[in-house]
């Protein structure tokens, strides 16, 4: 059983974070909130999200699973304005999700979750940890986009650098320690990532958020941030590129 009311902008934040990586997703519903784990089709990136019950205006649920086509939720969001409340209700008999916005009622078939197993979350111990605003990350991505299709994330005890090298040009955004919110790095680390993934993931982070970056050398990067007015948190994982020679 699942029945909830949520602000449209909160729901949009949740959907954006997930739809960056997948078109359909399995939401695990509990009595105290919702959780989701998903990897993108190429198995390069992962999202691990938890949203508390208190992020909703109203929330009552028993443990269940909802397979949702995220494009359909986006269609409903397009019908709503900021501040609108969206009511969601599981119709167990017909295996549907029913959404109400104002006087509009949208009934959508749920996606079969039988083939959607929860991906295993890698247990990584990443030596470097730092926090930065998502706006700074955006800036670094914009700088890199015209230069290359990959981006290196470097951290040293003195600061953080986003570096991109193309065939002819290179670009770097250096953030010394005092421009970072926090920095816990004992030795230099560096990993290389596909820029399109990194860019799409960062773009779905709410503007003005603080992002905690966990980094190693030739290891996945973990991005942690909060959504839904700090009542939800998201971990993104992105696997590195290894330049073999």
């Amino acid at each position: 059983m699942f029945h909830a009311k949520i602000k449209s902008e909160t729901l949009k934040g949740v959907v954006d974070v997930v739809s960056t990586l997948v078109d359909e997703a399995k939401f695990n519903i509990f009595s105290d909130g919702i959780e989701l784990k998903a990897v993108d089709p190429a198995h390069v990136a992962m999202v691990d999200m938890k949203v508390e019950k208190s992020a909703f205006e109203e929330f009552s649920a028993d443990e269940t699973e909802l397979g949702i086509d995220l494009d359909k939720i986006k269609e409903v969001l397009r019908l709503s304005r900021a501040g609108d409340i969206i009511e969601m209700e599981q119709d167990e008999a017909k295996n549907r999700l029913v959404l109400h916005v104002g006087n509009i009622t949208r009934r959508m078939n749920l996606v079969d979750t039988a083939g959607m197993s929860d991906p295993k979350v890698p247990n990584l111990s990443l030596p470097a940890k730092l926090s930065v605003t998502s706006d700074e990350l955006q800036k670094g991505i914009r700088a890199a986009e015209s230069v290359s299709d990959h981006i290196a994330l470097n951290a040293t005890p003195d600061g953080f650098e986003m570096y991109s090298e193309g065939d002819t040009d290179s670009v770097s955004l250096k953030l010394p320690k005092d421009l970072l919110i926090s920095l816990e790095v004992t030795e230099k680390v560096k990993s290389l990532f596909p820029l399109d993934y990194f860019s799409n993931m960062v773009r779905s982070i709410p503007a003005g958020s603080v992002v905690t970056i966990n980094l190693g050398s030739d290891f996945p990067v973990k991005l942690e941030f909060e959504i839904a007015d700090k009542r939800g948190n998201v971990n993104y994982l992105l696997a590195p590129r290894i330049e073999s020679d």
């Binding site: 089709p41 992962m46 590129r241 073999s244």
Partner: protein
């Protein structure tokens, strides 16, 4: 690539200008242009002219009248679109000529054989506005009837001049023989394919839906494409003639994309597979990978092949897409879509998903272009053979290299999909 330095381009044009001595320098645009885009700036492709001068000129018919069994075949030109030449393809012979315009039946035949029977097809030409074809009357109606007909149909053509004898070659369209402007056209009773006829009379059915439905009912792609090119499908007012060359790729693209909607959701295959194939001095390896959908076609043109006639080195070109597909037209042309369809037919039949990389080496025996069917039908044929199965990517690639002349390093550096496989780690690698 071409156009990066102006000196390469100048050299290219200069060398093409030297009468009699055609030379295609390294990095020339020929392998991309394939005689279709005039990238060198000349009015006509010098390589094509060379092919034409080589092809035997002969007078098939002495009179202005030609009677024969059309396979049935038609051709819609593309130059000057929407003002294009349309008309039938007619051989000067009776009997069952259906082979002549059914590329699905050509796998295993030699270039000489194919060129020989295609050369017998005389093209009648009649200029129309492709977007406003209704007003042109009988010749247009008869051409449409032919395209929709199931069996070879008797055709009597009256020409304005004697058909001039030369073979028309194109990288995407199968070759055909001499042509002349039509004075008049009469045809016997066409027998429509009932399935095609139904789509023809359904003026509310969108063209893409018609193409998909006919394919699912088992109509041959070459038949669907012919009907597509005479504007037999689509919403009434939007129907138009479509140049043959464009219609081939349109049908391959529509069908490939449609299959992908299903195959992209299937579970992946379990092993690394390589399918080997060789035909018309083209060597093929099709690598299927136990990954989600991604696809690349890599063509290596040897010196002395069609698009690399006097080059000193092998030219390699490729186009690819990842899971999300691609929006712009593939650099290497219609063959990309033809092969993509063939791969997805296999995945559909198996209920599986896979990543695919197609390696094609065109060796010097491949002297002239014979059309996109060559790629579609040969990839289909290759995928009907029993594949070699491997445990890892590297052992699969070892097999590919053992069958091909080009080194592994060169294949990988030419391939976006393989480069990604080699460099990009997966989340699963860390679980």
């Amino acid at each position: 690539m071409y156009g990066q330095s102006s000196s390469t381009f100048d050299n290219h044009v200069r060398s093409l200008s030297t009468a009699g001595a055609l030379e295609v320098p390294a990095g020339s645009p020929c392998v991309i242009c394939k005689g279709s885009k005039n990238l060198c700036g000349k009015d006509r492709c010098p390589l094509m002219i060379k092919f034409y001068s080589r092809s035997r000129s002969r007078n098939l018919i002495d009179s202005l009248d030609l009677a024969g069994m059309s396979p049935p075949g038609i051709f819609v030109g593309r130059f000057g679109y929407p003002k294009v030449d349309i008309g039938p393809l007619v051989p000067p012979m009776m009997g069952d000529t259906s082979l002549m315009d059914t590329p699905e039946m050509w796998v295993g035949r030699s270039i000489d054989e194919i060129v020989d029977f295609r050369f017998n097809l005389v093209r009648g030409k009649y200029r129309i506005d492709a977007t406003d074809f209704q007003k042109y009357g009988r010749i247009v109606d008869h051409t449409r009837d032919l395209a929709l007909s199931n069996d070879p149909t008797e055709v009597e053509a009256k020409f304005q001049k004697r058909p001039s004898g030369r073979l028309i070659l194109d990288d995407e369209v199968q070759p055909f023989g001499p042509s002349a402007r039509l004075q008049n056209l009469e045809i016997g009773n066409p027998r429509y394919d009932r399935r095609v006829e139904k789509a023809f009379y359904d003026t509310d059915l969108r063209a893409t839906e018609a193409v998909k439905a006919l394919y699912q009912e088992g109509v041959l792609i070459s038949k669907i494409q012919k009907a597509f090119s005479v504007g037999a499908f689509g919403v009434d007012k939007r129907r138009r003639f479509v140049p043959t060359r464009w219609s081939i790729t349109a049908v391959d693209d529509i069908l490939g994309k449609d299959l992908l909607r299903t195959t992209k959701r299937n579970p992946t295959i379990e092993d690394w597979r390589v399918y080997d194939w060789e035909m018309l001095d083209n060597r093929w390896c099709i690598l299927l990978m136990p990954t989600t959908w991604r696809y690349e076609l890599i063509e290596a043109w040897y010196p002395n092949t069609t698009w690399n006639p006097l080059g000193q080195q092998i030219e390699i070109i490729s186009s690819h897409e990842f899971y999300e597909g691609r929006k712009d037209y593939a650099e290497i042309g219609g063959c990309y879509y033809a092969a993509r369809l063939a791969v997805n037919e296999l995945l559909m039949a198996e209920g599986r998903q896979a990543g695919a990389v197609i390696f094609r080496e065109a060796h010097p025996g491949y002297v002239m272009p014979v059309g996109v069917w060559n790629v579609r039908e040969n990839v289909r044929a290759a995928l009907k053979t029993a594949p070699h199965s491997f445990e890892t990517l590297s052992t699969a690639l070892q097999h590919v290299v053992s069958r091909m002349d080009i080194s592994l390093e060169r294949w990988i550096s030419s391939s976006a999909v393989l480069t990604d496989m080699m460099t990009q780690r997966r989340i699963d690698d860390y679980v």
